[in-house]
């Protein structure tokens, strides 16, 4: 392969000696030990896969729901784009909506990519550029996404750096397309959304690969450790360090320091959001406190003696919040300095003294080697005094304060979930705290109710007080991130997945912006795990899935296997672990169908889209990162369902079942154009309720390539779930019957009647593809 590359290291140990400030420019990289032929699109530019994108986008219509009808991105505006008006630059409302979607995906990708870049540069500095990248035992095809997209197989840290160079270039292109007077077509904006989503998958894969390889994480381990999780699991007899965000490096310096000094009996570390997963992947003694939404409630509880933030999804007023409970804050990322004074170059003793004495509220320390010592020493020093303090008001105090409620409803109007906050406050006036406790159960912890309250009530804190026992009862065991799926696991399940006998792979990923609490994620996962679907989890969704106990007091991770197999529930890890899910689908194509991956994106995406019954669910999707993660799955042809708040992404990708042309594919064996059932019917879909999400999930795993037996199994579940949640037999089953063998035997009479009513005709089971070049003989 020929690609230009640039590599930089502050310090590099080589066979020729140690170099400082080393910069290398390479004109050509040749991986001459890899005999897999290069596919047609290594390191694709934004338009190289445009034809594939347009195939998807002609089947799945972007459906826009504008958040506002104006554009205010340049000084021509604001421009009114309502009706058929155009802005001063010429853009219309559809183009503008697509542009906003691209902006969101760019932002999301940039967060993962900058995270990956920091990790790679840091780890090269720590371990050297020639450090091996290892995903784990049983994995020949490591980094499948990178192979597929770039045509490279990253084997050393320096390879990872080269791949990130490619990603950074692509992001610059797709970001620039959102500038005034660049792209004008909604269709091409959307194509670039898919492109940047794909680039995002690569950057996340690199981020997780390098940290797995160097930081002692579980390596594709189905038996990754069970770790303690929940607010009630934190041991307040010890000093507590709370870490928040996504980047393991500063948090790892803390656990390393504690281990080195053998002071684990005096201090413990808990994480929130993805840092929680990655810190427990490195050190299973650390704890997963909760998802992103738990930040305020935990900080305000005062349990954390020091708060260490890294990057992404951090409460941006963390310094103010921590100050209220006299907990110093250490910011560690140049992306989220939080207004704190720079102390990286100061002696540790001096930083500790300033933080302990309260001279400063916090410090920005980007020298990660210092973070561990500073955070630990400060936590130990402030803990005795802090444990005597009370930070929440008592119920009596709340009752008294609540008497002055103005009954203005502003708290309800500010609540994203329309919770009856005001009614709960009025009940608290009378000493009844149960309604406040109920609000807590559905609260996403945004505290917008407080910002809106004219009395400045700390309403979120009041909810936490009302639910104190629930917080104490948050004691769960969750399985930390295992990393990739082994090739050997894929070998065992590839055939039953492609043929449909394992009815589907369902991934619960993403944020915690839930409409009615995190229990929904568990319930959805359990509904399908018990039906022998494979359930994969990551990020905050993986935490929420584990925060429900069964009648035996066990979490879903305790009672179900962590193997990639029917009925398994496996946590791959943090946000940047999501490409292991995409990677599993990609590896099915490589292992089961012997397809080449190298620079061969469209063929593999076509394979996955037509054959692998995978569905992503991000029930609490909130961020731009969630948008870019979803975009990466869309380009692979994998449908994604989000919760009702996901409608605020303001664009869905929806199929129309009756549009026959959209569901016509080539039979790769004959070249015939053949009508298939609408599967998967949609590519991006916001569900209003759990019931709707379950029905849609069961439907979206249907694929044109299902065998008769597989189709019959999938339809049985679809019908059963439809009847359970909607109360009637679905009226579109006949569309999915190709021949008698597709009919679930126990439902034959009903289905035959439906087929007759709709004048059903038998169809062949084909070898489906959207790509003419995949027809045997090349389609000429």
């Amino acid at each position: 392969m020929k690609k230009k590359a640039y590599f930089k290291a502050d310090e590099a140990e080589t066979g020729l000696g140690r170099f400082k400030g080393l910069e290398v420019r390479i004109g050509t990289i040749v991986d001459d030990e890899w005999d897999e032929p290069m596919g047609p699109t290594p390191m694709p530019n934004p338009t190289d896969l445009r034809a594939w994108d347009h195939k998807l986008l002609s089947r799945y219509h972007p459906s826009y729901m504008p958040y506002c009808q104006v554009c205010c991105l340049c000084t021509f505006g604001k421009c009114d784009l309502s009706g058929d008006k155009r802005g001063a630059c010429g853009i219309d409302i559809k183009g503008q909506q697509a542009r906003i979607v691209l902006a969101a995906a760019n932002i999301g990708c940039s967060a993962h990519l900058a995270h990956a870049r920091h990790l790679v540069d840091h780890l090269i500095e720590e371990y050297g550029p020639r450090t091996d990248l290892i995903q784990g035992a049983g994995i020949e095809i490591h980094a499948p996404v990178s192979r597929l997209v770039t045509g490279m197989r990253p084997r050393k840290l320096e390879d990872a750096s080269i791949i990130l160079d490619y990603c950074e270039t692509q992001l610059a292109h797709t970001l620039s397309a959102t500038h005034t007077g660049q792209e004008g077509s909604w269709l091409d904006f959307e194509s670039k959304v898919l492109h940047v989503g794909m680039v995002d998958q690569v950057s996340m894969e690199i981020a997780d690969l390098v940290q797995i390889s160097t930081l002692g994480f579980p390596k594709a381990d189905p038996d990754a450790p069970l770790v303690e999780s929940g607010i009630g699991m934190m041991d307040t007899s010890k000093a507590i360090i709370l870490t928040i965000g996504h980047n393991i490096v500063p948090a790892a310096s803390i656990t390393d320091y504690i281990t080195e000094k053998k002071i684990g009996s005096k201090v413990e570390v808990g994480g929130m959001c993805c840092t929680a997963w990655d810190i427990t992947r490195r050190d299973p003694n650390a704890k997963v406190i909760g998802p992103i939404s738990w930040q305020l409630r935990y900080i305000r509880s005062g349990m954390a003696d020091v708060v260490v933030v890294d990057e992404q999804c951090v409460q941006t007023n963390v310094v103010n919040e921590a100050k209220k409970v006299k907990a110093p804050v250490i910011s560690t990322s140049d992306k989220a300095v939080m207004g704190l004074p720079e102390r990286s170059d100061d002696p540790v003793d001096s930083i500790v003294e300033e933080l302990v004495s309260g001279k400063i509220d916090g410090a920005f320390i980007h020298d990660h080697h210092k973070v561990g010592e500073v955070a630990t020493r400060v936590a130990l020093a402030v803990m005795p005094k802090r444990r005597k303090m009370k930070f929440f008001p008592s119920k009596k105090q709340i009752q008294k304060m609540a008497e002055n409620c103005k009954k203005c409803s502003e708290c309800i109007r500010a609540c994203p979930n329309d919770q009856p906050v005001m009614e709960a406050v009025l009940a608290a006036q009378l000493g009844n705290f149960e309604p406040l406790r109920e609000v807590y159960q559905n609260c996403i912890g945004c505290a917008r109710c407080e910002s809106a309250c004219p009395n400045d009530y700390d309403l979120h804190s009041w909810m936490v007080v009302a639910a104190q026992q629930d917080c104490k009862d948050e004691t769960h065991m969750v399985r930390t991130g295992r990393g990739a799926i082994q090739d050997t696991e894929i070998r065992n399940v590839g055939q039953p997945i492609v043929f449909g006998e394992i009815p589907g792979v369902i991934a619960h990923v993403g944020c915690a912006n839930y409409p009615q609490g995190g229990k929904d994620v568990h319930d959805m996962a359990e509904e399908f795990a018990k039906r022998r679907y494979i359930i994969v989890t990551s990020g905050c969704a993986a935490i929420s899935a584990g925060h429900v106990k069964d009648e035996n007091g066990q979490s879903i991770y305790e009672r179900r296997s962590g193997e990639f197999d029917a009925g398994g529930v496996l946590n791959v890890g943090s946000c940047v672990s999501n490409p292991h899910i995409a990677g599993a689908a990609i590896k099915i194509a490589a292992i089961f169908a012997k397809r080449n991956l190298r620079g061969n994106y469209a063929e593999i995406a076509d394979y996955i889209h037509n054959r692998v019954g995978a569905v992503g669910i991000s029930w609490g999707a909130m961020s731009q990162k969630a948008a870019s993660i979803a975009s990466g799955f869309w380009r692979l042809g994998v449908p994604v369902i989000v919760g009702p708040h996901g409608s605020k992404y303001r664009r869905m990708l929806l199929g129309k079942a009756e549009e026959e042309r959209a569901w016509t594919v080539y039979d790769a064996r004959t070249g015939d154009r053949v009508l298939t059932a609408p599967g998967p019917e949609h590519l991006f879909y916001a569900a209003e309720t759990v019931a709707e999400a379950n029905v849609m999930t069961a439907k979206l795993v249907l694929r044109p390539n299902d065998t008769g037996k597989g189709r019959s199994i999938k339809l049985s579940h679809y019908i059963d779930i439809h009847e359970k949640y909607y109360g009637f037999f679905p009226d579109d089953v006949w569309k999915y019957i190709r021949r008698d063998t597709d009919i679930p035997i126990t439902l034959k009479d009903k289905i035959l009647a439906q087929m007759k009513e709709n004048k059903w005709k038998e169809r062949r089971i084909i070898d489906p593809t959207l790509l003419k070049e995949q027809i045997m003989g090349g389609g000429t």
Binding site: M65, P66, P644, T689, Y726
Partner: protein, 182 residues
């Protein structure tokens, strides 16, 4: 209670156009009389929202019967209609509807369209907001009436965050206006 035609969720402000305030049923008279093919959209929250001695599903059934108007239930609300033996309801996702309503030739799941009016309530506030944004911007052949209690700026007509008691009284008056509620 704000009782003003401003978005119920304070951040959900919209663009240059916004709904007219529906404070008395008479203001709907002209649009309702002009409508030849109205469609009633009822979301999942209607199942648990009380109205009189029944719930908002009962209200939907009464309104549908009075106006001979088909119902599309979203988010699984169909189950409640079926439990009440109501046969003129079909099930669709709110987001599927948001796409389909952009098409002036769409005949609906029961083939009774194309529609010229949508009456809607019972979806989560923000989801109804986004669905109606789709209608306002791309389904301009439709007259949209939001019958939820809270102001939906993207409709043509919407209640202005009305007090509960008053709201349910106006709902009953609307039902009478179209010949129902007897």
């Amino acid at each position: 209670m704000v009782m003003r035609p401003v978005p119920w969720q304070t951040g959900e402000i919209c663009g240059p156009d916004s709904a007219k305030s529906l404070t008395k049923p008479e203001v709907l008279k002209r649009d309702l009389s002009k409508a030849k093919k109205p469609l009633l959209i009822v979301g999942s929250e209607a199942v648990t929202e009380k109205h009189g001695t029944g719930d908002m599903i009962d209200y939907a059934i009464a309104l549908s019967n009075a106006m001979k108007m088909p119902v599309i239930a979203t988010g699984g609300a169909i189950k409640a209609f079926l439990e009440k033996d109501f046969e003129n309801a079909r099930s669709m996702g709110a987001m599927e509807l948001a796409l389909r309503l952009q098409d002036p030739d769409w005949v609906g799941p029961s083939g009774t369209g194309p529609y010229d009016m949508v009456i809607i309530y019972g979806l989560p506030y923000y989801m109804q907001w986004t669905l109606l944004s789709s209608v306002m911007n791309f389904g301009t052949h439709l007259t949209a009436i939001a019958l939820g209690r809270h102001y939906q700026p993207h409709a043509k007509w919407s209640f202005p965050n009305m007090k509960e008691k008053q709201y349910h009284a106006v709902l009953d008056e609307i039902l009478k206006l179209v010949g129902g509620g007897k």
